[in-house]
Point group: D2
Chain length 350, copies 4
């Protein structure tokens, strides 16, 4: 497709981003060009926007960033056999090599040579984006565009909760960012009970209640003691499952303290540094299992997510608090970085 | 405890049962005497009542039958260490030996030398019943008596659905007896979607809708084609999971036809005779897994059930359609055996 | 690559096969041309050779059949990115679509639209064969050609035994064809103990002993009672695991009889017709799990197989009893179809 | 049984132990008295002997310690129903309450109110010992006394390796104490390949070779780089499974570095302090699973161990380097605490 488009790009090392006109990209072999209908801002995008240490080490400008989106296939490259122009798709952001030991083992989502859309390749904060056919997920026509656009992060939560195996389990979730709020909804849909949600913003915790938390804790409020509360609610036993989506060292420590013997701790939130761990009491004597989660199963998680969404078991829409124009991207990042959180997921419409 | 009580008993071989006065039984070593507060009629009790071929071969009259109940511990035998007089309990009906290879392997519920309460031992259709301490389950005080009484069959459904691993899975359930209706509720609580329920009574299928079925089929209605409908609803793929709780050969056959390649078939319903199976197309080429279910895990299933009930994820009460007095037992069996079903679970209050 | 090659082909409907000169095929997009170094005869090839009912319904002549082989990549088609000329490869015979619900679920080996090499496409009983890049498995250089050629059927056994989860388990295997003999070796390597192997040919059962069976049974010998023997060897408990690789209805029935309560039955052998099953006593009351196996995981099974072979844990060579020239294919089929078995796996060298 | 016996006891706080005459204990309800035929020294016993910080906080003298043994039942207490005088038994050292949430969940080995034989109760470094019937394991008569005596620690290794799921997996084991050497043997029996074993004593590593390690590393030798070697041996991929049985922080760190993406890390060795962990790179981005192991499944592990031993798949005897008299206990502790290790497992015969 000829012509130019607007895109939100990092033109050089440093903080911020710019709205720039660029040529519409052309799909290469086994790639498709997608007209972006809705795209969402991820915490990773905030890291890139702010140009923190991680971003400075990983990102090679110029880069159009963004990796969560939905849209319509408008052109197919050579060798594309499964997708057609007009298909309504979302993108899996993990681009696997397909041939390493890890991929061969059925774990493409953590490929040993993993590339990430909008991080290692040109992303989707634009009117058009190119993705590998192998990373396109075809949506049901009835799925709203803004919901289709947040399936990548929702999929993280689906995968995390499925690995935690929560039906009939007492479940403690840390983190009231979109990941934790999505996980709350998925855990509720999957029969976790009770669900405790610990976070730091009343705005977000209220959404957490809507998503299905039985009890929420603002850990910055005086007198709140998550571990004590969970133990009290369980006759001293503790949680069967802890889902850690905050990355806060204090949350990680409290999670292990609140976990019952023989319980499961699922680690998704990224701490900013190494942590210390009482391996003896928190893992070995406790007989605990820790599961590290990155990405989503390709594509078992997407199938389960589709079934949850299409059957109405899961409604993630309360988490999508804002829809703005792509040109208003600065407003989106302002929302995402405000000291007091007043947003869940921010979706931009090109 | 001295004195006599009334009980519903089979005094000799043959159909029917009688209300008889008998001495209150005394708990032996490691046993407890429970005052029965609510007791429910199981399909197995109907077999015993009718004195069919299975019953004639297994039951040794005189027998007080019944094995689903809740009540209060009123006396403890020697060696009882975990229970106290006044405890509010329900009974696990499977009485394992505890020392065979199967029990040692953590599968007590299918002990190689299994005894069943009210089948191989005196049961609970009475004012009092004796059970092994090891088979008593302590309830939350808030659990209603009639719900506590139906946990044994509800536990079958919980175990069945947990083994089926349904979150985010397309689930087809056969059987609109209490087992199927309970399974529908558990599957809904655990995030199955969509849920199809096939049965034979409009009365029961309406309860199934209340329990969470997205679509129900009365297989006796003209033009109903369960397999075709499931395939149509899934773009030809089929169900991820089939839960068979009817025992009907036609349901078993249709279940395999509706199951997708790589799916899971859970077998709980008891056919009256051997079945024929297309092992090649239904199991081997399909890469299917078949899981036979009998009883409930002791006591992992009970823990999960308690969490589901106590957190409100699961409400089985629509299935409990009748509460009558124990002295009205004949009315209960009439309901259970009527040609056109107008009951779900019938609970009797001594 | 220009030129012609010889191939063993079915030119028209009917029994037998012919050695024919045909043009060397050209690899299409995402395909590679492989010079066949060793190719093995499968039971499926015997069905095709004999032109039985199954073959008549499935095979569309003219067809070069054969699907088990090893060789060297000599040409790559457009879009091939992972393989190079000179690579030493074997073929996965299952050709998945990659985009159906089953493939998306990580179960490509039982793709809903599965094609099989040498059955639905031109096969490898030839000097050269074309396969999709996605079905090529790169071998360690140290792996002998004839072992590399039998990895497809060996992989069936690896997958079957891995699903059966045999370490420290009492394991009964039915079938003394190559599948059963391979499974015996894999089970031995994976710590099954004891291993009973039941078959019909003394020649094959002797190989089974070499592969690691602790005790073998020729079920055609007078007085042999597999079920009784297994029960006697286990204090009446039975086998933890039954691996059925014969397809004989009698073996299937005996397998369920010998299986302990709570055991696992893995079904791989293909009966020639529907079977009858005592679902109640063999599956439901027994709390058994039945796992249907077709193909091999792509490519988790291949990785495990490579580790077993490369570390020396598994030596399948006793099963490869014959190596002949491709031109001697008639001798190979004679061996495979003799009333009294005197071969294991027959490998042909082009 | 009347009379007195000799026992190795800690009479008061402080290092060392004494040989003392004490009355033969009497079995209480549901307990049995066992004549000790062989008893082995555990690392835990060394902690008690030395009276380190852990011991000072946990042990209440006077105490007969020791918890690994085999022997013969010579007297049964009231309520014992499964065991008889003359039974040849070994002891499970974990004494569960049987009624807590964890026990009810089928995880008795990590009971929330766990007691340990010879730590919280009187142990087996004596001529006789009392154990709960529920902790007795009946041995095959053919099992040698000294092997029967070391099943408790061998069971740790069996459980650890079974959880690691090693068949066809590249397996790295840290620790050349008895736990690591046993795990090496179990991993070999269960089809791990290759097996790397890292330790600190050439004497022990030589036993590790006998037990089945393909390659051993003495980490105190100059130039040894375990991580680099494992990566080199696996084309840079790393180990599928890491089994950590040393408790050394360096081993834990190296274990995570050598683990492939998507691999499994099993933690059994007890570090003396908190560890630091790169949760991001070692667990989350890696998609790793960490499994904490304490004890053995009651009694699934014992069944698997019995099958491994009785079928000859596993021979732990090379690890049992010394058999001495119980009166020579000081020699045993000298061996266990020597700066340069010259023993594996030390068994004492009363």
């Amino acid at each position: 497709m000829q012509g130019s488009m607007i895109a939100v790009a990092k033109r050089a090392a440093g903080s911020g981003a710019e709205l720039v006109p660029v040529p519409i990209p052309a799909p290469g072999p086994c790639e498709v060009l997608v007209k972006v209908r809705a795209t969402a801002i991820c915490g990773t995008d905030v890291h890139i926007f702010r140009w923190d240490k991680w971003a400075a080490g990983r990102i090679k400008p110029p880069l159009i960033f963004g990796h969560e989106f939905s849209g319509e296939v408008v052109e197919t490259g050579p060798g594309v056999t499964k997708l057609n122009v007009g298909d309504y798709v979302s993108a899996e952001s993990h681009i696997p090599c397909g041939s390493c030991y890890v991929c061969k083992n059925g774990q493409k989502h953590i490929c040993a040579d993993l590339k990430i859309l909008g991080v290692d390749t040109q992303g989707c904060f634009a009117e058009y984006a190119v993705i590998p056919e192998a990373c396109a997920w075809r949506n049901e026509p009835s799925l709203p565009l803004h919901i289709a656009a947040i399936q990548e992060p929702l999929g993280n939560a689906v995968y995390t909760v499925m690995e935690a195996n929560v039906p009939g389990k007492r479940t403690l979730i840390f983190g009231d960012g979109p990941a934790g709020l999505f996980a709350t909804g998925v855990a509720r849909a999957a029969g976790a009970g009770p669900i405790w949600l610990a976070g730091t913003f009343n705005f977000a915790l209220a959404i957490g209640k809507t998503m299905g938390a039985d009890r929420t804790f603002n850990v910055r409020s005086p007198g709140v003691d998550v571990v004590r509360s969970v133990l009290d609610d369980t006759h001293g036993t503790g949680a069967d499952v802890v889902i850690e989506m905050s990355g806060a060292p204090k949350a990680i420590a409290e999670g292990f303290s609140a976990l019952r013997k023989g319980g499961t701790f699922v680690a998704f939130g990224i701490p900013s540094d190494r942590i210390t761990l009482d391996l003896n009491n928190d893992v070995i004597f406790k007989g605990a299992t820790i599961i590290g989660i990155n990405g989503r199963l390709m594509f078992r998680t997407w199938l389960q997510m589709a079934n949850l969404l299409n059957s109405g078991r899961l409604d993630p829409s309360p988490v999508v608090t804002h829809q703005i124009g792509l040109r208003e991207f600065q407003k989106g990042f302002d929302l995402m970085t405000a000291p007091e959180r007043t947003c869940g997921k921010v979706v931009m419409i090109p």
